[in-house]
């Protein structure tokens, strides 16, 4: 039976009733006004940054990856469809070259590399901060393209709670619950999210693409289902005086089909994964100094079943072994912020720990040691300077990451600010690159760290809700680790790449009449392989995102367009992923009390011919119905 595109028929009466209720209440409507837009990361003052506030996507079924793709300088490498692997690329860097932190705790994939954003539950987050540039000095080795900080919902001192349920096309469903409450001398928050999708959308492709005008044939995506459960627990306690204790536990587990590329589907391949993060932090202050010590750990497990180098196989047969990969890390860190005069503040950080991996890569471990110092200098006349230096030892590889950012504001309340930054850092090879021998992938234990530096400068005009910003950057990479074909039939990573990536990032957030808010972001990326002058594959030269949203007390809605220009798909400028234009829209009403009902449509043009970077098909029109309430 073909999958249903329309949202479930039994929910239609509820949606219509809700709309009628909203119309009746229109005259007395009050409009929710957003507060001051939040600044970037406190760990990287004056760095180019974008804050993605989850609240602005209320009433929309959004993954972390979808929300991130609204920010300039961000592109998502996705393997097609809901629930499937998606990794982050900042300023043209690969997923391995950007750090992802959950409440300050570094996340990694099971092989020590790119984080799969599809495993991160969106509804337990409060906001995301995307800081762009080589930021190893501020965040640690590995931050070559930038850093994504995931900031989970915070516990509050009173009882609050919320629930969200959605159903939509391709059997996609989500249920999310959260509750915050007083607890002891502090507060606690628990949040849960469950997602599932059949993922069996229809798509179309040409079987004979060389023949102009040859027909498109329809297919149904198979083995694209995904089921995931996630949870978050945060407890915050004030112990005595200036002493406080914070606890964070986050976990996620899922199973999904790995459907494969459109020309080579893999109906028998499955992936099971589970991960958990735990952190406990003791914080305090003494005079003007503040300090914190923290212990954190992370566990990841991923098991592939029915997966071969080139295709799938029958799980459980002798030539089809399960591929189990587990990684973990633990670290302790202490941080001290020490004012040194009225215009000077020093921050020191010391951390140590280790990370382990075992499974398909064999068993390996390496130590982690970091020491960092940062100075925040107010120089007068509106100038501030933020030099930083960090030493990271990852296994046997040690590197120094210096960086500096500067900012000028004519006056503290003046809307104009100018900023600039420079950074130099490195990325140690991941366990996957060093040791993973799986399918068509070969390991290379002789890899050296990648190195990069970048410089950027920008201007921002910020006045209440109005924000206009422009940033230009230039970055240079060397010793890039690239997977290359390795005869007879494998790929293997080598330190062979050197690249120059330059670009421009523009963003405008403009309040309009009728309580509308317009957001426009544009990214220009010029990524060049310095060895031969060809463009780097998989980097979109142009990305434009436009969104018009209205948030009100009784009526909300949005419309948005996302355009991505043709993307090079090989290393010789001769194969491209076609340009893509996606239109999404949604509308919602407050049906009764705190209950909101929204209807959302994605890919309104019903383009079923789009594919992602790796020729995985993308879904056409999908419709979702969302009900949510917050007390």
């Amino acid at each position: 039976m073909p999958p249903s595109r329309a949202f479930p028929r039994y929910l239609l009466p509820f949606a219509m009733a809700a709309a009628a209720a909203a119309r009746a209440q229109e005259p007395g409507e009050t409009i929710e006004v957003q507060g001051e837009r939040r600044q970037g990361s406190p760990r990287a003052p004056a760095a180019a940054a974008t804050v993605v506030d989850m609240a602005q996507f209320g009433g929309e079924v959004r993954s972390v990856a979808e929300m991130l793709s609204t920010a300039p300088g961000v592109s998502i490498h996705a393997l097609g469809g809901p629930g499937q692997t998606a990794t982050l690329s900042l300023r043209g860097a690969s997923g391995d070259q950007s750090l992802v932190l959950l409440d300050g705790i570094p996340l990694q994939g099971p092989g020590g590399g790119a984080v799969d954003l599809s495993t991160l539950p969106a509804t337990i987050l409060d906001r995301m901060v995307v800081s762009r540039g080589v930021l190893g000095a501020q965040f640690g080795a590995g931050a070559l393209g930038g850093v994504l900080e995931l900031l989970p919902r915070s516990a509050r001192g009173s009882w609050t709670g919320g629930a969200e349920a959605s159903v939509g096309s391709f059997g996609t469903e989500r249920l999310a619950l959260d509750a915050a409450m007083p607890a002891g001398n502090g507060s606690a928050l628990i949040a849960l999210q469950g997602d599932r999708t059949s993922g069996n959308f229809e798509y179309a492709r040409q079987l004979t693409p060389e023949i102009a005008g040859s027909p498109y044939y329809g297919f149904t995506r198979e083995n694209g289902d995904a089921t995931r459960g996630s949870g978050l627990l945060r407890i915050s306690q004030e112990l005595s005086g200036d002493l406080g204790l914070d606890l964070l536990l986050q976990g996620s587990a899922g199973v999904r089909g790995l459907p494969g590329a459109s020309s080579a589907p893999t109906p028998r391949s499955r992936e099971f994964d589970a991960d958990g993060v735990a952190g406990v932090r003791l914080r305090g202050s003494s005079g003007d100094a503040t300090w914190s010590v923290r212990a954190s750990g992370r566990l990841d497990r991923s098991e592939l079943r029915g997966v071969l180098a080139f295709g799938d196989c029958e799980d459980g047969t002798p030539d089809c072994p399960r591929q189990d990969q587990r990684s973990s890390s633990a670290r302790a860190e202490g941080e001290l912020a020490l004012p040194a005069g009225e215009a000077n503040s020093l921050r020191f950080l010391l951390s140590g720990g280790g990370e382990w991996v075992h499974g398909t890569t064999g068993a390996h471990r390496r130590g982690l040691l970091s020491a960092a110092v940062r100075d925040d200098l107010a120089l007068g006349a509106g100038f501030s300077l933020h030099p930083a230096l960090r030493l990271d030892k990852v296994g046997t590889q040690t590197g120094l990451s210096p960086g500096i950012t500067a900012q000028w504001k004519p006056a503290p309340e003046h809307p104009l600010s100018l900023r600039a930054g420079w950074g130099l850092s490195y990325r140690a090879p991941t366990f996957t690159e060093l040791y993973l021998e799986r399918g068509g992938i070969a390991a290379n234990p002789d890899l050296r760290p990648e190195r990069a530096w970048s410089v950027d400068a920008g201007a921002e005009w910020r006045l209440a809700l109005l924000t206009l910003s422009a940033t230009a950057f230039w970055s240079s990479y060397r010793e890039l680790i690239l997977y290359q074909l390795f005869p007879p039939a494998r790929v293997k990573p080598f330190n062979v790449g050197k690249a120059r990536i330059a670009g421009v990032e523009l963003q405008a957030v403009v309040p309009l009449p009728a309580h509308l808010l317009a957001t426009v972001s544009y990214s220009l990326l010029d990524a060049v392989n310095r060895a031969d002058g060809h463009k780097l594959a998989y980097r979109p030269p142009h990305r434009l995102f436009v969104r018009l949203a209205r948030r009100g007390d009784r009526l909300e809605g949005y419309g948005e367009a996302s355009f991505t220009s043709a993307i090079p798909r090989n290393a010789f400028d001769t194969a491209f992923v076609d340009s893509q234009l996606l239109l999404n829209a949604g509308i919602g009403v407050r049906a009764a009390g705190p209950l909101w009902v929204d209807v959302e449509a994605k890919n309104l043009l019903d383009k079923r011919t789009y594919e992602d970077l790796f020729q995985y098909p993308l879904p056409g029109l999908s419709i979702a119905l969302i009900a949510r309430a917050r007390l």
């Binding site: 040409q206 079987l207 004979t208 693409p209 060389e210 023949i211 102009a212 005008g213 040859s214 020309s263 080579a264 589907p265 071969l308 180098a309 080139f310 295709g311 196989c313 002798p318 030539d319 089809c320 072994p321 591929q323 021998e437 799986r438 399918g439 068509g440 992938i441 070969a442 290359q484 074909l485 390795f486 005869p487 007879p488 039939a489 494998r490 293997k492 080598f494 062979v496 060895a531 031969d532 798909r569 090989n570 290393a571 010789f572 400028d573 001769t574 194969a575 491209f576 992923v577 076609d578 020729q615």
Partner: protein, 366 residues
């Protein structure tokens, strides 16, 4: 020889040769028919090279089973002989008495005197005893002789001349020869046929065209076509083609075509008195991926791309330049590896993914 004579006859009469239509799909043997070393773990045909001889078509069967990380040689290499219009198959065991004297056969080529030669690459270790060049008598459906390969070399491609068999080395950018009389590797040092690389380079294939031997060096960033003396291997000329070239073929006017998987292009090479002249004749569309093979019938060029499961028929003399005039798709996971034109419109492919021989069902430009 029969085919050439037939072609000459047809040309003399001013007509166009048309082969009997091939059957749509021929399932290749599997399971016990492929004599697995372990009956519990049989291989699959995984067909590759195609050649014509004695009125039949021959395809190499690598006889591998899926393995991790690489496919495993599950039994001896085979040649499967068949008539495309009927599909009946005769298997020729290349493995010898112990079943291990030829594993993983890749290319198969016909000599001017009607014998078939196939290169057996073994397990790509470069030291196993299953590496060989085997000589097959198509009339007897049997292996006549077998040439052992010196250690450290993995044969890739076969070019047969009157006195020698040339093969490339999958490990290095060299070619070496085997004496056709003794079927022993010549003691002379291998001939370098290098091309610039960042990560890897190797000899993608060798072929006899117009009396000379041509060797194709492929790398991750470049490709180079070498023209060699058929007796000594001395380099007569060489020219740069596209990156990561995978195969070459000769046209009946002396030109040579090369498919380049790196940049998705077709190069046409024109032998001149002073050397070789190469130009990019065609860039395939982005939807065509992993070009694996090129063959020619007269001046019509046929290519195959395993990533997109497609084959193309190309008119080099089309107005405005070379153009794909017909294309066929062999279905999901087909993995077409090699192509064999039967005439200037019909062709069959070996589908490594689905273990079939399939006729191209062309979609043409309107």
């Amino acid at each position: 020889m029969k085919r050439i004579a037939l072609l000459l006859l047809v040309a003399a009469c001013g007509g166009t040769y048309q082969a009997p239509p091939p059957v749509a799909s021929i399932a290749l043997p599997d399971g016990s028919q492929l004599k697995p070393y372990d009956p519990a773990q049989p291989g699959q045909a995984r067909p590759q090279g195609l050649a014509q001889a004695a009125g039949r078509v021959y395809v190499t069967l690598t006889n591998q089973r899926d393995g991790n990380p690489n496919p495993v040689n599950a039994g001896p290499g085979f040649l499967a002989a068949f008539v495309p219009s009927t599909g009946a198959i005769t298997l020729i065991d290349l493995g010898g008495s112990d079943g291990k004297q030829c594993q993983n056969p890749g290319s198969v080529r016909t000599s001017a005197d009607g014998y078939l030669y196939a290169n057996c690459s073994g397990n790509f270790s470069g030291t196993d005893g299953s590496r060989a060049i085997v000589e097959v008598d198509p009339l007897a459906n049997a292996v006549r002789r077998r040439a052992a390969i010196p250690n450290g070399r993995v044969p890739n491609g076969v070019a047969v001349t009157a006195t020698r068999i040339w093969t490339g080395n999958a490990f290095t950018t060299t070619v070496f020869s085997i004496d056709r009389t003794t079927l022993a590797a010549d003691p002379t040092p291998p001939v370098p046929v290098d091309c610039p690389k960042t990560v890897f380079n190797y000899v993608a294939d060798v072929m006899t065209i117009g009396g000379d031997v041509y060797a194709l060096c492929g790398s991750d960033i470049s490709g180079e076509l070498y023209r060699l003396d058929p007796d000594t291997g001395a380099v007569k000329a060489h020219v740069t083609v596209g990156p990561n070239p995978t195969e070459l073929a000769g046209l009946d006017d002396g030109r040579i075509v090369v498919v380049n998987a790196g940049d998705n292009t077709l190069t046409v090479v024109n032998p001149t008195a002073s050397g070789l002249d190469a130009r990019t004749a065609l860039t395939f569309v982005s939807g065509t991926s992993a070009l694996q093979d090129v063959r020619a019938f007269g001046r019509t060029v046929f290519t195959v791309a395993s990533g997109s499961n497609t084959a193309q028929r190309i008119d080099l003399a089309a107005q405005g330049g070379a153009k794909v005039v017909a294309e066929a798709n062999f279905g999901e996971n087909a993995g077409p590896w090699n192509i064999l034109p039967l005439d200037d419109t019909q062709a069959i492919v070996s589908n490594r993914g689905t273990n079939t021989i399939a006729a191209a069902n062309w979609v043409t430009v309107k």
